[in-house]
Amino acid sequence: MEVWKSGRFLIGATGVGFAILILTSGAFAGIAMEFDRATRKAMKGDAAGARQEYAAFLERAPEDRLAPVALLAIAEIDLGALGDTVAGLSNLERVVLAYPRSSCARDAARRQGDCLGARGRWREAGEAYALALRLAEGATSETAAGWTTTVTQAAADCYGRAGMEAEMVATYVEALEGEPSPEIAGTALSRIAAYHVARGDEAAASTAYERLLREYPSSEHLADALARREMIAKHHAIAWTPFDAYAAGTSLVAARDYPAALAKTEEALAAAPPPALRECLEYRKITLETTIAGDYTEGCRRLRAFLREHPDGLRSRMAKETIEGRYGPIAEIEAAVAKQPQDLELLQTLGGSYTNAMAGARAVEILERAREIDPADAQTHLLLGYAYSQIGRSKEALEAFEIYLRSNPEDTTALNMIGYGLLGQGRAEEAIPYFEKYAALAPDDPNAHDSLGEGYLAAGRIEDAAREYERAVGINRDFSNSHFMLGRVYRALGRLDDAVRAYERFLALASAGPQAEEARAAIRTIVSGAGEAREN
């Protein structure tokens, strides 16, 4: 029916006469206005009023493309502002039943999973998430980035909490049968393998790990497979050398030892890696050589050639993002600097871009040229501070930040950087005053309290750290890192129930990644009561 478009745009499409005709009937204009009024009322804090407008829209135009959007909005208002869980869940159900082909259906099912999970109804939550995944398969519009990964993870997690391990594995198996992202595929295979290991079925576990090695070596779970090599070797013939060299290279990249990482990459490539691993290694070789040489124009050319060879591979998305977000812009600014080598702003931009691209040495070279042009320019010193920090020249970094701070004494970013610079040198007591000043200048900034918490923690002042992390999440309840750190701090203080809650809150915000793994492991350990000392 598309009443929405009619209401807003067709009014004048054929001129004023047609508009007057519509005004006479009033119907189309009324519907458009209801949708608009809902936006305005919600923005002004009138949740009940907004709900009424969406309901009026829905009543008049139940077949409009925006009808499921309106019904889902009603459910959200019920659940959120009005706190009516029963009505909210019921309206979510209506979205699923009435508009199963709409993308809103999958979102409604997911929201059901969130609500039920938050109330500890794990089985129902798992089923709701599983339904969301099935509905997503039939939806016409694409899901948000990471949607399938997150929902699959949530479904499996809820099933796991409900003790429904077979369903948990089935969720992952189903994910693998579709077209999973490399991230979810790696996680799925690792979890399936762990499930079989726990049941003593080493052959099945080895098969899952072997597939992870063969198809998804970029997974963060690669280390799980490598740790089980003796078991896997009984069932599959694997050449471990390239995997070991790749894993060693990953650690060296994280430590920013790029020449050593490159050497490991070349060692892996020389050891006849399987195709998926070869692709990852080739991508890494290009990016490492580009970073070391600082020739981003050449880096762009090589990555484009790489993409032609691997248009849909494990590293294609990353390669595209690197070209568009890092190498391309840098190559362009380099060309501008070549034409105007004395342009301070261009040099600063180029230096900052190199820092962002983790090419600290080149950034320092450029920014030191900028400093020669205008030694008094504070911005140059700030950027130099970042660049020096990146390549481990901590003393010079601190000096640069201090110079910048003289003319910008209330720049909280610089205060934070200095604080972390000192922490990085193990000088926690000296770092704390900078973090305290940051927190005093920006008392409403959760990051300030998070940083101060980190400073206190490094100085062994755990209670003070807990207080600051609590402040951070008090300001922004979605500030995930502070929830995670609160989990650690509470655990260290023996406040185990609080620790579990903090970790769970963190997991609700960030369900993937190393911190999430640590949080899950901590919860399991605390709940099982293994070796944990409670405060009382």
Binding site: L10, A42, A50, A70, E332, E345, N447
Partner: protein, 306 residues
């Protein structure tokens, strides 16, 4: 205790902080277009696109083509304006909304009877001073605010949100009788373009969740929660590459685009980047959420050369 810190590298946090740093009841036009007969008769167009050499004159001509600013700003109204004021370079580098346009709009607001005009963004005040925004606002009698404290924001519902449930939006926008979004058309490395929908990220407290989840989807959801009375897009100079901070390739388009529908305005402005609105995911997602019209064939556009 040290091991509690080992997993969080100094630079990781630093990078995040650095990225953060860089990075009424009155009747509005749309409601008037939809329901008020007199305003409807005066406003036969949804979008006005004016080309000319003077950004300020383009701006006023675009407002005139929409029936005049008095259709959007009532006497005694508080008006909130959100420009894109980042960077310290000249307007010709197309990094920030042209201050001459901001000045012209503020003067026009007062001319039609506005009680108060607040120009705001959660960007650094120092850059707004250096790029001329502060002088322009002061010259026209407006108030400039760098909204960077938590107390500058108010929690707002996002009923149509899938990722966002609530956002903390600049209180001046929530409280205003009329909200005018004044972006500049730029390339953006993360979102292809930054136009009016993306510009709203400069009016919220916590942008981190956008980056941690799905930037395009969050931008669309933010658009669904903010009632735009008017969008006035600076496309006098358009940053075609290396946005949003530049420097990059700039094309001189000599244009201002104005309208009440942010999706329609953004869809039109996408053309400067050889894109259709539907090819930009956050514009498409905003359309899917009912924020506005993406199909320019359904939008009445008035194009003028002055």
């Amino acid at each position: 205790m040290a091991d509690l810190l080992t997993r969080r590298g100094f630079l990781r946090k630093a990078a995040a902080v650095s990225a953060g740093a860089f990075f009424a009841s009155g009747d509005s036009a749309r409601r008037s277009v939809a329901g008020a007969s007199l305003d409807l008769l005066q406003a036969p167009f949804d979008l006005a696109v004016v080309k000319g050499d003077s950004p300020a004159r383009n701006c006023i001509a675009a407002l005139d083509a929409l029936g005049g600013l008095s259709r959007f700003v009532r006497e005694g109204a508080k008006v909130a304006i959100k420009p894109n004021p980042i960077g310290t370079s000249r307007p010709e580098r197309a990094i920030h909304t042209n201050p001459a346009m901001i000045e012209a709009v503020i003067r026009e607001c007062f001319r039609v009877g506005a009680r108060e005009v607040v120009v705001l963004s959660n960007d650094d005040l120092r850059s707004m001073e250096l790029n001329g925004t502060a002088d322009a606002v002061a010259a026209a009698g407006g108030t400039l605010k760098s909204v960077t404290a938590k107390s500058d924001f108010r929690e707002v519902l996002v009923p149509r949100g899938r990722i966002l449930r609530r956002i903390e939006l600049a209180a001046d926008i929530v409280e205003a009788d009329c909200f005018i979004n004044m972006p500049i058309a730029k390339h953006h490395a993360g979102t292809q373009v930054t136009l009016s929908l993306k510009n709203m990220m400069g009016s919220i407290w916590d942008r981190m969740v956008f980056h941690q989840t799905d930037l395009h989807e969050c931008i669309a959801e933010l658009g669904s929660a903010v009632y735009h009375d008017l969008v006035i897009m600076d496309a006098n100079h358009v940053l075609r590459t290396n946005g949003p901070a530049g420097p990059g390739q700039v094309s001189r388009e000599r244009s201002v685009i104005a309208g009440a529908d942010p999706v329609a305005v953004d869809s039109f402005a996408s053309r400067f980047f050889q894109l259709e609105g539907g090819q930009v995911r956050h514009i498409r997602a905003a359309y899917d959420l009912g924020v506005g019209e993406i199909d320019l064939a359904k939008v009445r556009v008035k194009e003028l050369e002055i």
